[in-house]
Symmetry: C2
Subunit: 252 residues, 2 copies
Amino acid sequence: MDTSTVLDLNQLRRSCASCALHELCLPAGIDGEDLRRLDDTIRDKRTLDRGEPLFRQGGQFHALYVVRSGSLRTFVEDASGNVQVLGFHLPGELVGVDALANDHHASQAEALERSSICELPYDRLNHLLAQMPSLQRQLMRVVSREVAAEHQHMVVMGRQPAQERMAIFLRSLSDRYARLHRDGGTLNLSMSRYDIASYLGLAVETVSRLFTRMEEAGILEVSRKSVTILRSDLLEEMCSSSRTSSKKGEAL
Amino acid sequence: MDTSTVLDLNQLRRSCASCALHELCLPAGIDGEDLRRLDDTIRDKRTLDRGEPLFRQGGQFHALYVVRSGSLRTFVEDASGNVQVLGFHLPGELVGVDALANDHHASQAEALERSSICELPYDRLNHLLAQMPSLQRQLMRVVSREVAAEHQHMVVMGRQPAQERMAIFLRSLSDRYARLHRDGGTLNLSMSRYDIASYLGLAVETVSRLFTRMEEAGILEVSRKSVTILRSDLLEEMCSSSRTSSKKGEAL
DNA sequence: CCCCGGCCTTGACCGAGGTCAACCCGGCCT
DNA sequence: AGGCCGGGTTGACCTCGGTCAAGGCCGGGG
């Protein structure tokens, strides 16, 4: 929170109604007076610089967060300093749910680039939920989506070879870009190779090799943090070149 | 536990108040009139036989479920018949959350043994949630716990070698037994070796070998589906024998 | 009672990907 | 401008655990 963008951010103040994410975020399906009340519940928009934590593992829980712009990574760190990246979070996505269970954050969230965050203090939110069943349902839907996504990621971690993991990762990122009406063919990888490797359960070297291999194959154009998908058809079929598990009667 | 216990199960009919899981399940922190209303919301107790599905992947969503007795496994099956086990569910645990997102079950749940299930039709539940903020908070807490547990599992799938995975799996099962006031030292593995392997992202053969190795090491006594933990101290230290990631300043 | 079919175990082999090491490259600071 | 440093890439090697194959065990049905 320093340079010149501060002004713009302040101008935007809180206003779900005018937010580009209106239809993707918590307010989806909420209008009029209810929307205004949700608006009032969102405290400050916090702005985070690259690397700045939104909350720390073990820290006291007091709010849920929605990414407004930029991107975050969430991760857990074990006693011996080992890091496991849990996910990357684009605008419109909810962060912090794992803390409700026992009032302490089980993971850490930090900005991958300069990001703007909507903060929903949990007591105020609870108050609102009690009065707005529609918001309550929408919240559960959003959380459910998150759970389903995590299940998908378990499939990746459990069964898929390295190349499929990368392909699925890129496809998923591309899809999420598209949902935001961004160009899904031009990804801006705000996270480091280490983050990607950790997230996919691979070694950095493997991630690096896969990028070059996929570039050589004409599927991607990779330049530093910018990745262009040249052949999404090839990328797609790369996602499921997996062995067919020798179960009974396969058609394919 | 099958033949004669059927009668008892029927006798118990629905009554959260008298349920042994009262303090672990959804009703936790709810009493009196509110509890009675939750009670009324729970439709039937469904009883499932071994292998019987509670809901199918892709099926229409209309209820959440809580395991009352027995155990379930949830899994996803991809186009080519590959199965990934997502989790095992003991009494008091909530199942079906991943379906709220789009009204269709993203995974499949099926009984690992004869099991009794509390069914919470979602429309009724929603009605109740709108009137009972405390229940709403408790539901979110339970879901949050689930999310946090899945995050833990990502750590396992992402970084840990086979032996640690097994150890962590057994410890977690033991802990959950203890929460149910069962003997955490005597596990009854209602799932097959294949299920365990899939859940941990390993091959069946590896799981099998690890069981024998841990038995030879005097940590376990393994007999078919019954596993006794002889040296929980050794099991514990097996959970974190991982390499220390060469990060800055380690204490330990 | 015996046979059959899952499920599980055990052994031998092999390969995907992790590890180690060297190097490169671009940004930043003096 | 030069040097440094963190992140990224590339190559050589080796290991963990997957795969393949061959039984063993147990339970259920004829």
